[in-house]
Symmetry: C2
Subunit: 322 residues, 2 copies
């Protein structure tokens, strides 16, 4: 452990000896699976990364990758003019901005916030207003692709904001994303595309679980079914990604049920506010809630398959019929 700390401190110190003047200071607030992955990608991109998370374990993991640990969002703001906020929702983002030891009171004139949480377009506009009042530039910057792609600097980033800001920070954006999409200047547009993506992703996970549990009920070989479907018109990114968890009976959380309870909740709140009937998203949310109610909130979102299995008297790998 001591050896690790020494090694990582040495690695963190290394960049000081190369191109000192040009090195960018970038902040990351929220070092969960996505934020930590982005921090790694930024460090690998040659940037000095200042990070904060409420969790000591997350801060420690960040330090092990060569990150510079800060003790509050305010401290991050004082250390870096470009900050990624990678927390889970609008309430946490607001807390990062104006909570105790928040960014804005720390004085951040001219610095930039990339807000990566999944929020609704109206929430994005409200957060941008808060930043504007505090003299900070706001980029509507939701992300997609999961922790593995985040750590590889290969996730997808949706962007809406001032063109000069996006252009000025192009190298930072390129360091964290394999593909980025400029959705214009209007704050909320990137948030909206992310919501549409989450609607699909959330529905597809539940559909994958429904389909595989039905396959189990019909007594057909699950591995073979996966092989056929992934080569057929029934395939989805989520089917391909999540069904292996079901086949292996491994529900350790790559992405937790609670995340989609939250995200489908945002989808349904927005749809209701817009007067938009969304029966598919609505059914999917009920299944995430049933999974949470069954005690799987912090387990992998493929746990929806265990709910189907229980309801249908099906045995799936690692989930004996109850």
């Amino acid at each position: 452990m001591l050896a690790t700390r020494v090694r990582t401190r040495f690695m963190a110190a290394l960049p000081k000896y190369f191109g000192v003047g040009k090195m960018r200071d970038v902040g990351v607030i929220g070092l969960g699976s996505m934020g930590l992955g982005m921090a790694q990608a930024l460090i690998r991109g040659g940037m000095r990364v200042h990070g904060y998370d409420v969790s000591e374990a997350a801060r420690s993991a960040f330090a092990d990758f060569g990150g510079i640990v800060c003790d509050s969002p305010a401290h991050v703001a004082q250390s870096a003019p470009t900050i990624f906020s990678v927390v889970v929702n609008a309430a946490q983002t607001e807390s990062v901005l104006i909570g105790e030891q928040g960014i804005l009171p720390a004085g951040t004139a001219g610095s930039t916030l990339f807000s990566c949480a999944t929020v609704s377009p109206p929430e994005a506009r409200r957060l941008a207003e808060l930043c504007e009042k505090g003299g900070m530039r706001y980029v509507d910057a939701p992300i997609s692709g999961g922790p593995v792609r985040a750590a590889a600097g290969e996730m997808t980033m949706m962007l809406a904001g001032a063109p000069d800001v996006l252009s000025e920070l192009g190298d930072v954006i390129a360091a964290v994303s394999g593909a980025s999409y400029n959705l214009g200047t209007e704050i909320g547009n990137a948030a909206a595309v992310k919501i549409v993506n989450q609607l699909l992703a959330g529905v597809h996970i539940v559909a994958a679980c429904e389909a595989m549990a039905l396959a189990g009920k019909l007594g057909i070989d699950l591995d073979k079914t996966y092989e056929v479907i992934t080569a057929s018109a029934g395939n989805s990114w989520m089917f391909e990604n999540r069904v292996p968890h079901i086949l292996e009976g491994d529900y350790s959380p790559k992405s937790a049920i609670d995340i989609f309870v939250k995200d489908m909740g945002i989808v349904m709140d927005l749809a209701r506010a817009e007067g938009f009937a969304a029966p598919m998203a609505s059914s999917a949310l009920q299944m995430y809630l049933a999974a949470k109610g069954s005690g799987y909130g912090r387990e992998d979102d493929a746990s929806v398959a265990r709910v189907y299995a229980s309801l249908a008297g099906v045995e799936l790998p690692g989930h004996v019929r109850s």
Copy 2:
């Protein structure tokens, strides 16, 4: 028109001069978009293809591709020992077998039926029994991939049946499919995998329509949304394939609403019979029924987006707010 007929008759006659003794005679009953495509692939594979469809237009299109038109299923059975039945459901397959001028009364001892319609596993077993009684070999052989891939000989074929039959007819299977999956000897296993695939495909189309209509409601650029989603975790085979119809406002039927009214009906009948609650498939079926009820039964299945648009007061390309 005359020139076309002469040319195609010439092309149909051509194979007679090459490898006469070895040329396989293969039958295709049901020359809709999938059956016609498969017939083309078989002809290109060097086989002599005997086809029948109740529609004169379908028979004429088949002749134009070099097929030999028969005037009944019985006539096809008398001309070819290997027959693909590519009709829409179990009832039509039964009619092909034992209806007026059906295959079985024509005397078909030792010939083989590939049954490609989407049917439930119990229906597949019943059809196989009919064939067995008539001395015919039955292969449970549902297909997936759409007309374009069918015509290219690149669709996916799921197979269950006797190993010696599948082995003996390997070249015919290879001529029509880019990938084929042997799901064992038990008739109904391939039908089951196809049902699972249709559940997913049917849910994904409705989800794609729900998502794009919501994007329209939120006022974001639809083309850009498509570009982002197809590169993100919300993507599906169906999203990628069907959303262009919505973007172009082109609802000419590549695959009609009625097909999924039928297929999701088969899914829901089977799920009910098995005591399996399938809320996602159930919601999707309601939207296909709403599309059919709105007058879109024979239009493209992406027409579900028009139902969403009407329900939400959204204008989509080619679909003005009603």
